[in-house]
């Protein structure tokens, strides 16, 4: 019989404070072939053979990552050059950190940086909880057909392009849209044009994002919900827990891990989010409201042909995003969560 805690039974239990008995002699040594430290797991060769199917399946994604993720990073050397299309990277003159000096001294860049953080914070605050709430709501729908229908309708806008989404918003909220026109016909002389108003733009952006992506983003949370054992709900219901208590003590804790993972990944996109959405609306609301780092990098780098400047902005953006992700991951680990990976 094994005692509780897994400790082997002892014939003469040790008195509290009594000296520790001497350690048993070491086991006889294994033959040399078996002396490898087993705690390090099987050898690389064995692991390669064991996992070859998985590795082969991963290869295309890896190639994709190398070709489109890592190889273009060679272009980052442009950030340290005065790049000229006609001379190419090999013959363009080196300027060390001149592009970065110009970047950090540019008030337009800092405006774009702060505006990115502002828009992202509003988006995080208003958008992030919505898919969780929606997922919990969908989960509580008992009719399978209704659930599938509602989910499909909510997911559909994800497949619309930003141009279409913004046009739809324009048709409803724009100065000549359905709502302002209704107000005009009912005595409001100058109804607000939300599509060109810089002050409310941050909320407009969040609203567009919620309409387009909230349904799609529920998918991950719905998957996490299916992982929660129904017996927990049954037990809680038997104990008299109502819907809110079950949600609070079973559903939400069940979603905690995936929520933190997505939050960290979101932070990684903090500085790069919404490029298309902002670029399309930048003219309408002005750069004061819609300039973000990606549009800044595109307009002053690509569009104006100053590739080195654009690359410097892009490199800064990438590095900051990486730091944000690593910091958020660290915080998650400190709180005992998995974060991006399990420690």
């Amino acid at each position: 019989m094994i005692a509780q805690g897994g400790r082997p039974p002892s014939d003469t239990p040790r008195e509290r404070g009594a000296p520790r008995p001497p350690c048993p002699p070491a086991r006889p040594p294994y033959p040399p072939a078996l002396t490898r430290d087993l705690s390090r797991g099987p050898s690389l060769r064995v692991r390669l053979r064991r996992d070859r199917s998985l590795i082969i399946m991963t290869l295309p994604a890896l190639v994709l990552l190398v070709v489109f993720g890592y190889a273009p990073m060679i272009g980052l050397i442009m950030a340290f050059q005065q790049y000229n299309v006609y001379n190419g990277m090999l013959y363009s003159p080196w300027v060390a950190f001149a592009n970065f000096q110009q970047l950090f001294g540019d008030p337009g860049f800092w405006h774009a940086f702060l505006n990115t953080l502002l828009l992202f914070s509003v988006q995080l605050l208003l958008f992030f909880p919505v898919p969780i709430a929606l997922a919990v709501l969908f989960d509580s729908v008992l009719s399978r057909r209704l659930k599938a229908l509602v989910q499909s309708v909510a997911t559909l806008p994800h497949f619309f392009s930003w141009v279409l989404v913004i046009t739809l918003f324009e048709q409803f909220l724009g100065g000549a849209g359905v709502i302002p026109q209704f107000l005009r016909q009912h005595g409001v002389a100058n109804p607000i044009d939300l599509m060109t108003d810089g002050t409310t733009f941050k909320f407009l952006v969040a609203a567009q994002l919620i309409w387009k992506e909230a349904g799609w983003n529920t998918i991950v949370f719905m998957a996490a919900l299916t992982a929660i054992s129904p017996s927990l709900y049954e037990a809680a219901a038997v104990d008299g827990a109502g819907w809110w208590r079950r949600t609070r003590h079973i559903t939400l804790p069940g979603l905690k891990g995936i929520t933190i993972l997505l939050l960290i990944l979101n932070l990684g996109y903090a500085l790069t989010f919404g490029f298309e959405q902002m670029l399309i609306q930048r003219g309408a609301v002005g750069p004061g409201a819609a300039e973000v780092l990606t549009t800044f990098s595109y307009i002053f780098g690509i569009q104006q042909g100053d590739y080195s400047y654009g690359a410097a902005a892009g490199l800064f953006l990438g590095m900051t995003s990486l730091i944000l992700i690593l910091a958020a991951n660290k915080v998650a680990h400190l709180f005992g969560e998995d974060g991006l990976y399990r420690r």
């Binding site: 324009e170 930048r282 002005g286």
Partner: protein, 361 residues
């Protein structure tokens, strides 16, 4: 290469090319009892806008017409956008005082609620639709868009649809209007410099054949193929047969082509007549901008200054921002100074050199 200049064969050339005009819905003005508008100054245009603007009924007076206000305000926007100041020195379009007057005027129509909200929101792609469905009465556009196809699309939206263009006028209402000519051709074909004299002559003979004028036997053969096989006569000109639709490709025109002609589409002869009458009238006021018809290639380091996207980008350049109240005239002036520092002045020096060496026409 002749006389230190490279010459090419012009494709689709024209001797009076205009960038565009300010158009209005003649049928709507008629219906409102305003008749044919007599616009002699920018104030007249503002007053007309006031009369037709009726947002409650879903009708706004103006589209974003800034690109076409360059004519009344006399702003030289045909690239490379140079003009001269009182001393005869080169200045760019955005350095002229008239450009500030122009953006201030357009800002005033935005403030007065006379510009269509979708135009303010840069919904450029639906601009034609807004004009055709009558939710916007005055717009700007290229002359090429004033044709039979436009009449067909417009009448599909509204049976009485009629597009008309304002003749050139001056913003102040005084003096003679001017309208800058666009390049006579924007596509060229070139002969290889290594060709022998006889080869060059042969190529030119072929080009001469392909560029035979509209209505000639050579023109019809090049553009429509053989009569009876590829095309047959119809009321609106040669009509391609089934064989012709398979065989005829108008690729020869990209080696050399005849002078541009206004052709009738979908039977709208009146539209072509109106276009020709407008062009004929505009021709009286036309002038050749600096460096007109000179294809100047600038060094790569000056290319950005020449493009000057801060003033020319199609969506959200600084001029458009001032018009929409998102930036101030002071911001615009700061952008001009920035342009001067970052290549603009160097570009001026470069064009001074071109002017000294080759002239400016």
């Amino acid at each position: 290469m002749w006389n230190n200049k490279i010459y090419g064969l012009p494709i689709y050339p024209g001797n009076k090319i205009f960038a565009g005009a300010i158009f209005y819905r003649a049928d709507i003005l008629q219906a409102l009892g305003l008749g044919t508008p007599a616009i002699n100054s920018i104030q007249d245009l503002y007053d007309l806008g006031k009369e037709i603007n009726d947002p409650k009924r879903g009708r706004w007076a103006f589209d974003d017409i800034m690109s076409y206000l360059i004519q009344p305000f006399g702003v030289p926007f045909n690239p490379p956008n140079w003009t001269t100041d009182s001393k005869g020195d080169l200045i760019a379009a955005w350095e002229t005082p008239q450009v500030i007057e122009m953006i201030n005027w357009e800002a005033s129509i935005v403030r007065a609620g006379m510009m269509h909200p979708e135009s303010i929101a840069f919904q450029v792609s639906s601009g034609t639709q807004r004009f055709q469905n009558g939710s916007m009465v005055i717009t700007g556009g290229g002359i090429g868009g004033w044709n039979g196809y436009d009449a067909v699309a417009g009448k599909a939206a509204n049976k009485s649809y009629e597009r008309a263009a304002l003749p050139p006028f001056t913003a102040s209402g005084t003096g003679t209007p001017t309208i800058g000519l666009g390049s006579s051709a924007s596509i060229f074909s070139y002969l290889n410099a290594g060709l022998s004299k006889s080869q060059v002559e042969e190529c030119l003979r072929i080009a001469d054949y392909i560029a035979a004028p509209f209505g000639s036997y050579e023109y019809t053969l090049t553009n429509f193929g053989a009569q009876g096989v590829d095309w047959s006569p119809s009321a609106s000109g040669p009509a391609l047969t089934a064989t012709g639709q398979k065989n005829v490709q108008q690729t020869f025109n990209f080696l050399a082509s005849a002078m541009n002609v206004q052709s009738v589409q979908s039977g709208y002869v009146d539209v072509v007549k109106a276009v020709c009458a407008w062009q004929q009238n505009a021709g009286k006021y036309s002038y050749k901008p600096l460096f007109w018809n000179m294809n100047v290639s600038v060094p790569p380091n000056l290319a950005n200054a020449l493009t000057a996207t801060a003033f020319t980008a199609s969506n959200g350049n600084i001029l458009e921002e001032v018009v929409r109240g998102k930036s101030t005239v002071a911001d615009f002036q700061a952008a001009v100074k920035s342009w001067q520092r970052n290549g603009g002045n160097a570009l001026r020096t470069f064009f001074d050199g071109i002017r000294a060496k080759y002239g400016d026409q």
